[in-house]
């Protein structure tokens, strides 16, 4: 099992997923995805909340309905993800703004209606095939643009920075972005014009 998918209200999938039953069946058919049925799912969530669920070692990604978990359960998952470098997606109807964090491990906090979209099935397929770069692929089809804008902000800051340690950290962030984007050019201050052109091109195409 690569992905543990905990949804305690499965009817929501039929409500939001664009191809309804077809998408649900597809997800269920994926051998690397374990999506337990309603009662079993509730049982697993209860065990996580009681901190006595044993996560499988093969796990690479946990997707969970955040509202079903207590803070104690979330901490339990956090510890597991932190130690095992497992990615985590928390979705809930109550999340007003998407938040992404890559400190220790990749984490995405996303509203249910933004999670159950046409992006979900391709993301799961890509993740299983190890072709997924980032959890942001789930959040926005323009996820590459997000990294480019971030890179431009960082490049601007590097130019203003005198502190060598801070500069090093910012350059390190830039390197990570380069790895994720794998462009035919390296994002750096010399290539900012190329970057600006690419950003403009994408925004114009939206």
């Amino acid at each position: 099992m690569k992905i543990l998918f905990l949804e305690d209200r499965p009817s929501r999938q039929l409500l939001f997923l664009p191809n309804k039953e077809k998408d649900v069946e597809h997800i269920r058919s994926l051998k690397s995805v374990y999506m337990p049925e309603s009662n079993e799912c509730k049982e697993i969530i209860a065990q996580i909340n009681q901190n006595n669920y044993n996560f499988e070692n093969s796990l690479k990604l946990i997707i969970v309905h955040k509202s079903a978990l207590e803070t104690r359960g979330l901490e339990y998952i956090n510890n597991f993800c932190k130690n095992e470098k497992v990615k985590l997606v928390c979705f809930s109807g109550g999340i007003s703004q998407l938040t992404y964090n890559n400190e220790d491990y990749e984490f995405l906090n996303i509203n249910s209606s933004d999670f159950y979209t046409e992006r979900l099935v391709p993301f799961l397929n890509g993740f299983i095939a190890e072709k997924s770069e980032t959890l942001l692929e789930l959040a926005n089809k323009e996820w590459k643009l997000s990294y480019m804008l971030l890179a431009r902000q960082i490049i601007g800051s590097i130019a203003l920075e005198n502190d060598e340690d801070v500069k090093f950290n910012l350059e390190d962030k830039l390197d990570k972005i380069n790895n994720i984007l794998s462009f035919d050019f390296t994002i750096n201050s010399e290539n900012t014009e190329k970057l600006n052109t690419e950003i403009k091109r994408i925004i114009l195409s939206l």
Binding site: S67, I95, S96, Y100, E103, F107
Partner: protein, 603 residues
């Protein structure tokens, strides 16, 4: 001049140090630990920063990058932060000029963010030049061009220009309406309670609610002391979130009434157990009016048909207990087909929670609360009569069920009782229907008295009392003999008398019912159980109501006729006290003599 810089780790540290000569700085950061708290929201985070962490001085200018997220630029947390500044009066900088900095154009940001329109609102500036010298120039420019306007107008312009949407899915929309409604109505009722304060706190930190509060300020409140429910009775409130605000609101509205609520433990129960628990409470408390939340279980928020929603099932069960109990549905739904289904199932009224769209109407909250007082008062008034009617009807149906009647006859009586109930219900909107109801109930008396188990015959009439038959009217020669006589006070008494047969048309209902009352039930006269009055009412008030003089059947008279029916159908009231006081049957000779005179037997 004093400026404020909000920044994150992606901004050069040297730049932040240099900025301090212009004013204060605040580093925005959210750790994973915070993100994983089940109560965490970005709005709560920003709200608490503005209310508790940043110095609340009046700034001349605030600088914010478009995005404050260190890893996902498209979150545009800077824009959200600025919206909070505009909608958080406690921060004291509602109208302070805000300068966004970043390498994007306004149009690009507007294209990429739902709240990008803030860039085109009053007091917002942008710059691509990120240096302290440029910021200083920018600050001088905005301060020189700044002109304050009244706060109310400023907020009005802001909410018109910037569109902030609620987050979320179907369930969240309901919770928005729920919390917004509780907040509005508790404020309008001037309720100060711990839970209301929690809701107020939640509302006051959520950007969408802040936006709504700015858009629809409450202008009028209600003096609950001046408005009371006048009718007597008991009110029960059923809700899975009973403790979350609504209970306090209804308690306030129902002051001085016997009011109880149930639902605290529903969260741990499945839908069928919730129904069971609610019905047990209804049976114990015997309420007159029930305020029932439509959705009481998580599954009810899914896309299911109304009849599978827990509130619907409870409604059906309550109506089976006593359809006179008035059920008022509390709901955030505005789906008309759901409301129609509930009405078909017997819902007697609706309290629709105030969704933000409804707040457009200036005094909506005040009017909605006044309407609740009316709905509950009307419900109590209806229940007072209808519950008794249902109880008596059930008794009557039970007696009929145990009697010697055909299936069709039983069904016919039940139908007439149901029609009478329906008419009574209608009488609360048009009084004439109470008369129709009375006539319908009287029809049942006529059905019964003409049933063979009570009385038979057209000319020679006999009343049945157990296995005995008592002759009460006899045609003999050219006379008609009767064993009872109508006295001057309108009742029949046991007095044998006779009158010429040419004056005889047919035995009327009064004679028949009186005969049954005297001979089947052993009463000394026919005025028992108000029969004399009932008969008179039937022929005067009920059949000829006078709207001009407001002369209608009243509720006591309805109960009177039902009590009479109950007495009339209860076989345990049968008594043989008067069986020997009927007319004498004809002798063999008298019968033969009659036959001889009958033209059919003459040669």
């Amino acid at each position: 001049m004093k400026a404020l810089l909000i920044y994150n780790d992606n901004i050069a540290s040297q730049f932040v140090i240099d900025f301090e000569k212009l004013g204060s700085t605040y580093k925005y950061q959210v750790g994973k630990q915070e993100l994983l708290n089940s109560n965490f929201t970005i709005d709560k985070k920003i709200d608490s920063i503005l209310k508790a962490e940043i110095d609340k001085s009046k700034y001349d200018c605030i600088f914010i990058p478009y995005s404050l997220s260190e890893e996902n630029y498209l979150e545009f947390t800077g824009l959200r932060f600025a919206c909070h500044i505009r909608l958080t009066p406690e921060f004291n900088n509602l109208q302070t000029p805000i300068v966004f900095f970043g390498y994007e154009t306004e149009n690009e940001i507007n294209k990429l963010s739902e709240i990008g329109t803030i860039l085109f609102s009053r007091g917002i500036y942008t710059t691509e030049k990120i240096s302290v010298q440029d910021f200083e120039k920018q600050m001088r420019f905005v301060v020189n061009n700044q002109s304050g306007i009244p706060e109310e107008i400023f907020l009005k312009q802001f909410t018109e220009r910037v569109n902030i949407s609620p987050s979320g899915n179907y369930a969240t929309h309901h919770s928005i309406t729920n919390e917004w409604s509780i907040y509005r109505w508790a404020t309008a009722l001037k309720i100060d309670d711990e839970y209301i304060q929690i809701i107020e706190k939640n509302i006051s930190s959520n950007l969408y609610f802040k936006y709504l509060k700015a858009q629809f300020p409450i202008k009028e409140t209600i003096d609950a002391n001046n408005q009371i429910i006048t009718e007597e009775g008991k009110i029960l409130y059923i809700d899975d979130e009973v403790e979350k605000g609504w209970d306090i609101i209804f308690r306030k509205i129902c002051t001085l009434k016997r009011y109880e609520s149930i639902g605290n433990d529903f969260k741990n129960l499945d839908s069928s157990r919730i129904v069971e628990s609610a019905i047990t409470k209804v049976n114990e408390f015997n309420p007159d009016v029930i305020i029932l939340d439509f959705r009481l279980h998580d599954d009810d928020f899914e896309n299911i048909s109304p009849e599978n929603v827990t509130g619907y099932k409870i409604l059906k069960s309550i109506k089976e207990i006593n359809k006179g109990i008035q059920v008022i549905i509390l709901s955030a739904t505005n789906k008309i087909w759901n409301l129609l289904e509930l009405q078909k199932a017997g819902a007697d009224g609706f309290i629709l929670k105030e969704s933000p769209e409804l707040s457009v109407e200036e005094n909506y909250s005040k009017n909605a609360i006044s309407e609740i007082y009316t709905i509950l008062d009307d419900g109590l008034k209806r229940a007072k009569l209808l519950k008794k009617v249902v109880e008596q009807s059930k008794k009557i149906t039970g007696f009929i069920e145990g009697g010697d009647y055909s299936k069709e006859f039983k069904q016919s009586v039940e139908n007439n009782l149901a029609i009478a109930f329906k008419m009574l219900y209608e009488s609360f909107t048009d009084k004439k229907y109470i008369n129709y109801s009375y006539l319908q109930l009287f029809l049942i008396i006529e059905q019964l008295v003409n049933h063979e188990s009570f009385l038979n015959g057209d000319e020679d009439i006999r009343v049945k009392c157990g296995d005995k038959e008592i002759l009460v009217q006899q045609r003999y020669k050219n006379k008609v003999k009767r064993s009872i006589k109508l006295t001057s006070n309108g009742k029949y008494e046991i007095v044998a008398y006779e009158f010429p047969s040419n004056k005889f048309k047919r035995a009327d209902t009064n004679f028949k019912v009186s005969s049954v009352l005297i001979y089947r039930f052993g009463n000394p006269n026919s005025s028992t159980n108000s029969w004399t009055k009932i008969y008179e009412n039937r022929n005067t008030k009920a059949a000829h109501f006078d709207r001009k003089n407001n002369r209608f059947i009243n509720e006591n008279e309805i109960i009177e006729v039902l009590n009479f029916l109950s007495y009339f159908t209860d076989n345990s009231n049968i008594s043989d006290s008067n069986v020997a006081k009927g007319l004498k049957e004809k002798t063999m000779e008298e019968a033969l003599e009659e036959l001889k005179k009958d033209p059919r037997f003459r040669k």
